[in-house]
Amino acid sequence: MKKRAFLFAGIILLSMCLFPLESSSADQGYIRIYINGPSEARWSYNGGLTWLSSGVRSPRISVGTYTVTFNSVSGWVSPSSLSLQVTKNKTTERTVTYQQGGGGAQVPDKWTVWAQPSYQGSEYSPLVFTLVNRNILAWVESDKTPTASVWGSTLKMVDFSRSESIRQVEFPGTQRYLYSTQSNAVMNTLDANVKTTMTDTRFVIPELVQSWLTLANPVETIANQQFTNSTVGAWVTSWISFLKTYTKAGLPLSDTGHASPVVTWPDNAWLNGLPGFTTFSDGLVATYANYGGAIIFLPTTDGIIHAFGVDSDSDGYFAELWGAMPLSSFLFGVYQEMLKQTQSLTLHPRIPTLGAPILIHDVEDGQGGWVRLLAGATGEGVNLSVKRAAAWDTETGRSVSSELGDPGSVDGHAAGVFALDITDPAYNGIKQRWSVTNIDLGGGDGFLDLVSSATSNAWTKTSYSDINSGSLPSFAGYRTLVMSLSRPVAGYTGDSSRVWHMVLLGIDTGNKFRLYNINPLTGELIGTTQLNEIAASGTEIDFPSKIGAVAAWGESTPKLEEIYFYLSNGSFYAWDLDAGTAPQSLLNLEYRVSSVYYNAEVVQEFDGTFLEVEGEIHRFIAFVIRLEKAGEGQGGGTIYGAILIDVTKLQSQSSLPESLVIGGSWGQTNVFNTESESVSSMYLAEQMHGNESYPVSAPFFYDGKLIITATGYISTGNPSQRGYYGKIFIVDPLTGDVQTETAYGTRFVGGALVDESGVLRIPTADGQILSYDLADYGLDVPGSGGGANPGDVGTIYWKMTN
């Protein structure tokens, strides 16, 4: 009997040990979610492992905090995820609502988020330009909050002069969002009433569209975007009211389109040799010190250019200073309002109103005077159409552009180019320097009447007759611009008398590439050059063309003698703007799949240097292209490769452009292949057979080597090395020797930076910073600064050391 009692006791004790859940069952509870919305709506308490319908109670789950997420349903906007506390023996209940926006685009009730991050479509854009001899790296990552079906972006940064900690954006409690009106020299806050006289120059070109809008009730036909029409005028007022009403505090940033963050310091080493610049730059030091020594600028597709300080405190955050909407983007808003009204949407649609990379550059303004400009284009622009509902709900894939639809009553295109004066980067110092757009909001007096009663209207607007008669050639050329997704180039021509330029590469109304040579101070066109190159807008949106300038031999200032551009149709050009000669077509790159030839697209900014070849100095240019290979999973699919061009040798050829079929010999890794006398290439992969990598930053030359950072996924080979990996290629451009460094089990994100001590820094997806001292690979730190005369001083670096 005693034995049996001991046996029972033993069984009970053993059971308690083996089945602790039973013993802790009292520490469990439930969650129940009620959903107002479509029947397909589901919720999950365990990250999507289990999906439950509305009103269904969860199984018994341990007490604690749970994040409840919601699935995506086509045509609906999912609620934001919930953080719920489960308590002992209780059922925690909530009711949520899926939102339906009518027959058009689906958007959340806060306007900062965009349907998809662009790099879901093309994976490597937007990334950052590789920084050399700098200490702050900033990059954008996708942020899926606040709803389960809508994506936003988050900006991260590291200031390596202080620490290697990745810091997050913190929006201030009181936000300063600025917009441009035609009557303001200084951009206004959205709730400001005081307006001053505008002294800048901006321009509106009427878009020639017959029967631009037809209303059914009341029946009304509105021509040429006549927003002074009483019905449409009310929409503009509604749009402005919307801008004033919604705060972005606590929300993620909108998608950044093709734009990446630009870190800006007071100095620009390329301008030290020009009169008055060091004085100008020294004057900015104290101002920038107020924000931690540098400012990060980032455009987002909701039309706002954000500015962030890099404050020196150690709380892990950095703050937004202000957001400013250039006039060209502000004007896009009327289409959002129009579509909301005409399609009975309950929420505003989101037409991308900024989406191209921005340029920040200092430009001479009169003798010894300088201004700091932030310039760019509206990007993809809008075909006066709205995205279909499906575009807003898709979370993966690259089909956004194909989802664009043309509502029957709307036709034409809208695009814009702008420059802000950010010499004074304080929120009340930002000015709209100029803005050009083909959107016309009014009957000859812009949209001033619609937003304020300000006087001294300095708005400039042209008429069709002016354009047709050619009396306004300095602006009329903008009418041809459909889209521009390339970062503009800034620099000067001439010697003692310098003329400054901003060169924009875009696609024109003839579906050809065109160069817009712009006066950066006024926005006036110095000229345009149409290239005999057919452009495919869809390809351009996925893989934008790249344009940049490199310093000519013996030159240390931005004299535009060597501009290079690689078009999304596979054509590579050189252009000496200083000489005034026509762009020279050098090379066409193609690839072949199953006997069909395709254009090879470029996927990052390029770089250029000089190298000594057989006793002569040769110009070299390097970039990375993307192409397709037949098959799937065994080396097939999308692959990437570095291209190295001996431009000097190429230009000496009698027949140009040279046409090459690239990638045919790719297969071996870490090897440069000779494609022609002037061109070589290297397949970017860790191993063969489906282990490709794509570049995470622009390739760059450093102490005689070409450096490329890339990341990919290994699906075959050594099991311990499978999964994501990051890889650094250090290439000798003359011998083709390749050194590599591979980091297994991690994925590179956000670009790369080489600090002033020669350490390559790369962030990873899991929040680490990988550092590689390039001295370990035999590379010395390149010099910086200096001057021609005894006593000239240049700063190599500056940092706080505690």
């Binding site: 080493a269 390329w270 490199v550 013996g554 190599i796 050391t801 505690n802």
Partner: protein, 208 residues
């Protein structure tokens, strides 16, 4: 109407509880206010330290520049223990005296009373330790180089092999004159009356 005793007692307790809560809240608000005041005072102090340290940098660069012609050239071979800061740094200090006749490092006290002192040091980067050991107090090694043409020299000022992309974030330029580029690190540490410090370091290149 006759008021019941129990209800009167309850009211008294309620008043006491409310007073207790108000007292706690006042204490919390006072604490927060003092904290905020303390934080803002620290920020002001940090700003003063920053300005003083930055002035020290400018002071050091200015004196270095005005004395650059007479400075000895050639790579400095460090003798003695490389790991000992007090042994190494004096060997890297150029022979420059300030207006008060002080040799490096210089101490500036003109920021009183907000900042008690700023110490400024200048170190020549053209040196060799004869080894590869790294110590945080050592400035980066930068050999002097000639400052001429696109070809440049081993000072790292060559266009050959270096990124020539015209962008402010490619912080590299190439010299076009003659003369020798000398590289120096200038360090400035400001100390407050209360003992807080803020240090700034910069590397400059000066054409000799």
């Amino acid at each position: 109407m006759k008021r019941q005793k129990g209800k009167r007692g309850f009211a008294l307790i309620s008043v006491l509880v409310i007073m207790l809560i108000l007292t706690f809240m006042s204490a919390i608000i006072m604490d927060l206010t003092l904290n905020a005041h303390s934080t803002s005072m620290e920020m002001i102090q940090d700003k003063k330290l920053y300005n003083a340290a930055q002035s020290g940098i400018k002071y050091g660069v200015s004196l270095l520049r005005s004395n650059i012609d007479g400075l000895a050239s050639g790579t400095i071979d460090i003798t003695g223990s490389v790991s000992t800061k007090d042994n190494v740094l004096p060997q890297l200090r150029p022979a420059i005296t300030n207006g008060s006749g002080q040799s490096l490092p210089w101490t500036i006290t003109s920021f009183a009373p907000a900042v008690s002192a700023v110490e400024v040091d200048v170190l020549d980067c053209d040196y060799s330790t004869g080894g590869t050991d790294y110590y945080s107090f050592l400035p980066p090694v930068r050999a002097a180089g000639s400052a001429g043409g696109g070809g440049g020299s081993s000072g790292g000022l060559s266009q050959i092999g270096t990124s020539g992309y015209l962008d402010p974030n490619r912080n590299i330029t190439f010299l076009s004159g003659s003369g020798t580029s000398r590289f120096f690190v200038v360090r400035s540490t400001a100390t407050s009356v209360g003992g807080r410090t803020l240090s700034i370091e910069t590397m400059v290149v000066i054409t000799q």
